[in-house]
Amino acid sequence: MLSTLWLFTKRRCLLAVIIVALAILDPFGLASSSDKASAQWLNRMLSSSYPSVGQQHVAVVLIDDDYLMRNGTSWPMPYGEQSKLFKRLLAYKPQAVFADLLYSHDHSLGDPTRGSQLLANVFERYQRQGIPLWLANTGQTRGEEGQANTLAPFTQVSRPALVKWEDVDDQYPLAVHTQVGLMETPALALYRVFCATRHCGTPPVDAEAAAQRQPIAVQWGLKLSPDQARIADIADAKPPRHFLLDAVMQFFQAVFWKLDDSAQQVYPYTLTLTASDLEVTSPEDQALIAELLRGRLVLVGARIESTGDLVESPVHGQLPGVYLHAMALDNLINKGMDYNHEPANLFRLPANGLDLLELSLLALIALLKELQRLMQAGHSTFTFCRRQEVWFFSSPYPSWLLVMSLLIALSIVLSCNSITPVNVLGIISLSLVLFSERIEAFFDGERSDRPLRDSTQGNQG
């Protein structure tokens, strides 16, 4: 077996070093953009086969503009209105509640009879009934350098759940060190409640252990809950298709995204009730709502025009931010602590094991390409299996299939270890360089056909 180093000139080796440096430093964010595009495409591809276990335990209650108009109220909702909403929810006995609402400014204008105490009274009832309630918390010291956080009356009757973090891109951390200490995010907090009553993957023993873990690479689901049609008009929801058909459709949409960049599904994955649904008064309707909410982990969020809390889902487009918490929780219920995640960075470098794997695959493509070129140029063979070697390099297909096989095997191994896949789209695109002569020959016509054929003969001679 020949050492491969001498196959490449010093200049080519230098080029390889530059490519590695570019991959690590990611100038202009080109590599990151490519990674993100690949991850989003795979997320869409896998969304239709996403299991529905978590969907049966999670629900979102959404305050929307329609609710405000129906009740002649405004945003932010007066505390009295909010107290009515939360006491209605309390009557349906959810297992636990997270309110994705930040109570950072008192808008009661100092009127104690109508002030924040009205809402705090209802939150106190949650405590008395043993229903854990978390409120959104920024993790910042309130009042320091103009930073906002939950008002004191609410912190006394609820638990804080962190909703603000940085440095994890689209991923979802379990716990984060903040100015006010170590805090867990809503998904982990609710997952702990879930695990207290059901058999599930053991959550981290404490917030410190949770903070050590990698953030969740959230996988979004596609198929709507069967219960959704019982409380909402979703007649125009896209019907579920076979997984393979969906994959084909996703492939073509990814290729021709400029022509059609519509969302795969316009309705959120998590079972959603609106605040208006909680207002029902007839025993039959109340029984239906109770059936949908009793014992569930409920997240309360808002979708009010111009409030700005939106999250981008690869499957849905833009959704209210509460759905990110709901989907992360869903991921935890489905996979426990084996949730999808990226490997940790290596030795404080801005690169992780996946980057190394991608670079290895790129190096393999470069090596195969070089060997192919040398063989076609009439160079002698490199191994003792002369015939097989000649056959292997007589066409780019075996090399390409080797790369694809490795890519698939690698993806399977990574998936089994709950690690996010490598940049599949990038590797597939770059592997096409193995066909560069064929592609050139095709576009140059007969003239370029001859050298290729000649060189093949040369190899065999």
Partner: protein
């Protein structure tokens, strides 16, 4: 004089007859939380200890959706969600409205909502 008195009494009793008396026919929650006039929880009342006879609603605070009743000679407030009240204080049907749709990836809204009239309510 007599005619005026008759008219007055008729008007008075007619109004009384038309005014609806709401009664609590059932306690749905167990226990039922007894509240003060601000909706703050005071104590719990086990369903088995709740009155079995219909209970007259003395007052309705529509802003907080709580009702005042007399329990063991004491006036207390209860959450309407914990009770079955006949005739209902309010009738709201299931809206069955269209579920909120996601927005396109390219959608942008460069504004922030202002405080509305509700903020001082």
């Amino acid at each position: 004089m007599n005619r005026s008195l008759i008219v007055l009494l008729t008007a008075l009793f007619t109004q009384g007859a038309w005014a609806e008396t709401h009664t609590i026919n059932a306690f749905l929650a167990d226990p039922v939380t007894v509240l003060d006039e601000q909706g703050a929880p005071q104590r719990d009342l086990a369903k088995k200890d709740a009155p079995t006879q219909p209970l007259t609603v003395l007052q309705y605070n529509s802003a907080l959706e709580i009702v005042q009743v007399e329990l063991a000679g004491q006036k207390v407030w209860l959450d309407t969600m914990d009770l079955r009240i006949e005739p209902p204080l309010k009738v709201v049907g299931l809206p069955c409205e269209g579920l909120t749709k996601s927005q396109a990836k390219s959608s942008r809204n460069h504004s922030t909502i202002g405080f509305g009239a509700g903020c001082n309510q």
